[in-house]
Symmetry: C2
Subunit: 335 residues, 2 copies
């Protein structure tokens, strides 16, 4: 299959190429596209050394599959035209996620929404990590309210975010200087920043609202009350999420643990006697979302549940989920 | 006034001495006590260089005020005997916090509980930071449920915790080696650890239950449903808290902001247009708890409120609150 990665030099773009190889996606030809600045440079990949090209519809229209890891503006300008050529397009930006005619998919939850669509939106990282655990709990116990506090890694701001965290932590530790910031709104080293993306009139950030909007669409629960506090912390590439839910029916920690143990895409890490629970250092590079700290939350009587998730922001939060979507699409079949 | 700091070489002990000086507590004589290992060494303080002594009741009984920053076991063994001598004792450990005959005090909330008591317990750091904001909101709107997720700094594990964070971050960054851990259950550098203190049979940690138990006692609401997820993150000395409450009466963000703006011990930092909100880098070394990200939480209809707090764990979370208690006690007055 002829596959193109658009935005190939970014953190997600590079991870997409790795995931295609790791999952043995049937790639017969791989094309890498990036900005004109990178065009002509070579990138080493598991598929050999590939010369980066500047994107054009002409250069991409023969592809069977295009994976977009670019800005929402770029996606808006190019994704529909590409899909209209019959290319299967998975878009990692927020451009189409809430469009009625574009499915928003986490395959473990709503693979059946893919159908014959040529353009599929890949959700926000925090949402993807959340719903793989939330959906099986909904099926078992019903979900009435969702409250999430996040511990989000620098990689959510791309390779530049990760580089800034490393550089500025070094500045603080080695040079004894205050951390600086260009990518993030404030210095991130040894700090937390309770703002991700821009503020909305209701006081929530866009990132926080994405978790509500996108979870509702993916789970097919347009009225589900979801509230999120999204916080950037000094970790590299794994998002943590402290989740509280009120269920429709009585729930126990034991029953919830059994449900999550059987859920695809989830690995239960919840042995408190051995001090095992989800953590960035164990979830890094792992496909499955770690779920643990599963316990009954008395704030909602016998219908409250708390749990903690850790998921690799670049994998389930981005590249892995995009390739999983592609695996379910009718790729290489004329539209 | 003759003041003794017991546990003077630890992170909280040192901060106690600084706070006594900064608040111009009427110290006429300062005695510093620590383990026999440190006895005989000298410590520089704003009150001059002081030789550390090993603790004995004999050496401490003449004090007017004793501030204890020691283990719960040490406090259990010595605090009541010292108070029985007529010394005003403020204990920073968890030893007496839930004892019926010992007030647990955050002066902005329940200074009147101090009365003639000679032994007062200083609450858990996360609790102290929480209730200075929670109590004024309760007075204005009532509080029905409280859900907290914490972003807790290394200083909660003392000076050793802060040193381990610095040393291990250096090991990762400069030596390129995996972080190690002795103080914390797992490496903390570029990681989060969703466990603070030991696990209870209900799946919550002791730290999480302390927030529930102690908030209820301080606020005089023995049945208040409180749930906490306590998470250690790689910051030095400021705890962050993402708080969701359901109020008894309708609440708006604007009204809540006005209430918190007038609350003692709280500084509202909540200008989203200027990207101002509570953060460890701004709350470090500050007496007031920063409160921001104040917004209506639709999960509880018109009775939901979200906010984010940052408080210096060594100040309001420990030393400052202890000295504020001492300021309200009848110190130097025979029992």
């Amino acid at each position: 299959m002829r596959v193109g990665v658009i935005g190939a030099t970014g953190a997600v773009g590079k991870e997409l190429v790795e995931v295609l190889a790791k999952r043995r996606f049937p790639v017969t030809e791989l094309k890498l596209f990036a900005s004109t600045r990178s065009a002509g440079t070579k990138q080493k990949t598991p598929f050999g050394e590939i010369t980066i090209e500047a994107y054009s519809l002409e250069a991409a229209r023969h592809l069977d599959l295009a994976l977009l890891a670019v800005s929402g503006d770029f996606s808006k300008a190019h994704a529909r035209a590409l899909a209209a050529e019959g290319v299967a397009v998975v878009d990692n930006s927020s451009a189409f996620r809430l469009e009625a005619d574009v499915p928003l998919v986490v395959p473990e939850v709503n693979a059946d929404a893919i159908g014959d669509h040529r353009l599929i939106a890949n959700p926000n990282c925090t949402t993807a990590i959340l719903v793989v655990a939330l959906e099986p709990l909904r099926q078992a116990f019903g979900v009435k309210r969702v409250i999430v506090s996040t511990y989000q890694a620098a990689s959510g701001a791309g390779a530049e975010g990760m580089a800034e965290l490393e550089r500025e932590t070094r500045r603080v530790l080695v040079e004894g200087q205050p951390a600086q910031n260009e990518v993030f709104a404030h210095p991130l080293a040894f700090n937390v920043i309770p703002q991700i993306d821009s503020f909305q009139p209701n006081g929530y950030t866009r990132e926080e609202m994405k978790v509500a909007w996108e979870s509702r669409k993916i789970m097919g629960m347009p009225d589900l009350p979801v509230s999120c506090t999204a916080v950037r912390i000094p970790t590299y590439r794994v998002h943590g999420e402290a989740v509280t839910i009120e269920t429709e029916r009585p729930v126990t920690a034991e029953a919830a643990r059994a449900v999550l143990a059987k859920a695809a895409g989830v690995r239960v890490v919840d042995d408190t006697a051995k001090q095992q629970y989800p953590m960035p250092i164990t979830a890094t590079g792992q496909d499955d979302v770690e779920a643990g700290r599963i316990r009954e939350n008395p704030v909602f009587g016998d219908r409250g549940l708390d749990f903690f998730l850790c998921g690799d922001q670049l994998l389930k939060g981005a590249a892995l989920n995009a390739v999983q979507i592609a695996e379910k699409m009718k790729v290489g079949v004329p539209a």
